[in-house]
């Protein structure tokens, strides 16, 4: 008979759990707490900081560069999620129609960029985008199309980086969706054929609805990636990171430059709080919206 309130605990699990909890507390939970503390402090870390109340928040939200970075980050997220998922879905559906060696070749080709390092990919694409001498412009010139400045044109610099980002992870998204597509029983499609559905109707009425869990998963993951965008922007726009004219400035880069470039840790902490709230907001919205998708 188990006494009321007494729970039997496996000591082995406890022994394993405590170090993990400790690790998370030190490297996960504590930095978040300390970061919130920093948002109320003016500090250069060299000396003990002064309590600044909400001044850091006021400064951040009134800073035009921050507002630009917030706008760019939101647009980047939307682009990465929507365009990334749509293109991957189309590619996954196309690959699912192929078979044998051709299918394997397609999978290998699309997945190859996924396993390359983001830093290396960013450097290569920066070279590809180079005005006049980059490969892309050489091809454009060959086709008698106007050459573009890409990373040096404030109007299209961010889009240029987004294209690279979408290209890089298309393979991963495609594989996830392809695996899900292949799980859909053929009988469903056969039944729809009998009912007179055309391929487009099959796609929108059968394939997409049945892929909702995967689509939601990808939307959440790539929203997180989008908000945390830093490496590709930093490398592809160096030495004027965030340029031209702050047109590629994103939240993570603004935080990094202020905190580590100018020792403005309070400012950087506020930007990171904004990123956290953005992530939470996007994620909750997406998870809640899944109920609206269900049939």
């Amino acid at each position: 008979m188990i006494k009321k309130g007494r729970v039997k605990i496996n000591r082995f699990i406890l022994a394993v759990f405590i170090p993990v909890m400790g690790f998370f507390t030190i490297f996960g939970f504590w930095p978040i707490i300390y970061n919130f503390y920093l948002t109320f402090i003016r500090t250069k870390i060299v000396t003990k900081g002064n309590f600044a109340g909400f001044n850091n928040y006021i400064e951040v939200f009134s800073n035009p560069v921050f507002r630009i970075s917030l706008r760019n980050t939101i647009l980047y997220c939307i682009g990465l999620v929507v365009i990334g998922i749509v293109t991957s879905l189309i590619i996954a559906v196309s690959i699912s129609k192929t078979k044998g060696l051709l299918k394997k070749i397609f999978i290998a080709c699309y997945f190859a960029p996924v396993v390359t390092s983001l830093v290396a990919t960013s450097i290569i694409w920066k070279i590809l985008y180079y005005p006049n001498s980059g490969v892309i412009n050489v091809i454009l010139n060959f086709l008698h199309l106007p050459m573009q400045s890409f990373l040096f044109d404030y109007r299209i610099a961010l889009i240029s980086i987004l294209i690279m980002d979408i290209w890089k992870d298309t393979g991963l998204r495609t594989m996830i969706l392809l695996a899900a597509i292949e799980e859909i029983p053929d009988t469903v499609y056969e039944a729809s054929l009998i009912d007179g559905a055309n391929p487009l109707q099959q796609f929108f009425k059968i394939t997409v609805p049945l892929l909702k869990p995967q689509l939601l998963f990808l939307a959440v993951i790539y929203t997180i990636n989008g908000v945390q965008t830093f490496t590709q922007v930093y490398i592809m726009t160096s030495p004027h990171a965030g340029g031209p004219g702050n047109s590629t400035m994103v939240l993570a880069l603004d935080m990094y430059k202020k905190a580590f470039g100018n020792l403005r840790f309070g400012y950087g902490a506020v930007v990171s709080v904004v990123m956290l709230l953005l992530l939470i907001g996007f994620t909750i919205t997406q998870v809640r919206s899944r109920t609206e998708w269900e049939w």
Partner: protein, 483 residues
Amino acid sequence: MKKSKLLRLLVFFIVIIIVVSFNLSGCKKTTTTETAAGETSAAETTSAETTAITTAKLDEFGQPILPEPEKAVTLDMWMQDWTAGLEIVGDIAALIKERHPNININIIPQPYETLNQKFIPAVMAGTEPDIMFGYYGWMTSVDVSELFLKLSPEVVNKEDVNKYVDSIAYLGVIGKSDGELYGVGWGDAGEAWGILVNSDLVKEANININEIKTWDALLTAAKKLTKYDGAGNVTRSGLGLTYSGSSAEIWYDSILQIGGKPFNTDTGEWDFNIPEAKTVTQFWADMVLKDKIDDPKIGLAYDNFPKGLCAMFMVGPWAVGAMNVDYPELNVDYILPPPVFPGGQPLYDVPSNAGWVFSTKLEDDKLKAVHIIARELMLNPKVDSIKLEKWAGAIQNKKLIEMLKSGEVVIEGKNVDLAKIIDEFITPFTKSMTLGSKVDRDYITNSVYYPEIEKIWGGTQSVDEALMNITNAANETESGVAE
């Protein structure tokens, strides 16, 4: 185990970890001010011993002899991975090793951005190397006496520095806290902005760069060197303006040179909405928008130059050495820029905006070694000659040396003595930059000004809007920098 007891144990454990972490994260480097009363630091003890032992003996520089390390020591040094700079430091390390066999310097190259980001945090975390190369713009908002090893009086008395090093300006940065010396300048005289020239392209265009004595003449040459496509877009820039570190700082220096005072030391506020700033900014904008001698959309000047897509660009003389090392097949030349505005002065930058600093953790033989290294860097003219070969600064600028030798510029004293240039041009700039402002010039020029001029060049904003934005950003940062 009861559930409630388990929960209490977990909460207790988490609280302990938080408290311990808080205390660990609050740790700072121990500074001399935290040293307990009655204790003396290792540096002070060594200093006392040094003075006692060597008072009667002077070295070749006229300074008390420093004790040699008793055993061989190796000091780690972070150096910016600029190729010519690494060669210079390597040669200097070899020279020091030759003169002091027990002293070895292990050079660890660091990319500029990496070095910038970890320069101060590494010192705070206690993970800095023994020696660091850094730019003074990274130090203007911090008290260097809390971060780096004090070099005076062991290396040289602060009062005697000017006997050996003719650029006093950097002392305002690396000695700001109490007048003592906390670093050694990379170059010890004035820098000068200049124009790196592709000799082959210039020759092809039949231009004699030595005859360029006015800015109009420079613009004419630049237009002749610029290439355009059928639609009138620049395909090769005649004078590159997109090496931001240079063009942004020239913008700032130009404002000062024509009498502008963007920083008010009384109110502690920046204001770029002044006629001088507008004149200079409009001038800089017109070179792209009206004169069309460059187009930022064709890429960066430094990247385009070796490809023949940029005939000339404004940069410090260090770039000559860098190009010679990285692109030995390229024929380059270097000229000093003429005065920008009629009646204006030649464009001179402030002296030696970089330097060597040393860790406060050093003790015993390593401390002795560092004192010797610092003295060699400051006082040994052979160190300068190493830099001279690699074009590391204005004093190594051969054109400037020729001007000095021909009497076109009269300088008294040794060839490293640029007192006249410093007195007339550089000291006023330095005073305006270091006096009162918590925000360094590098931040104003590279992080604030340069994105704004890019927007002007892109046609998305006017000069007035840009100056307003620069003023606001500078003041926000000035008030936001902690005490």
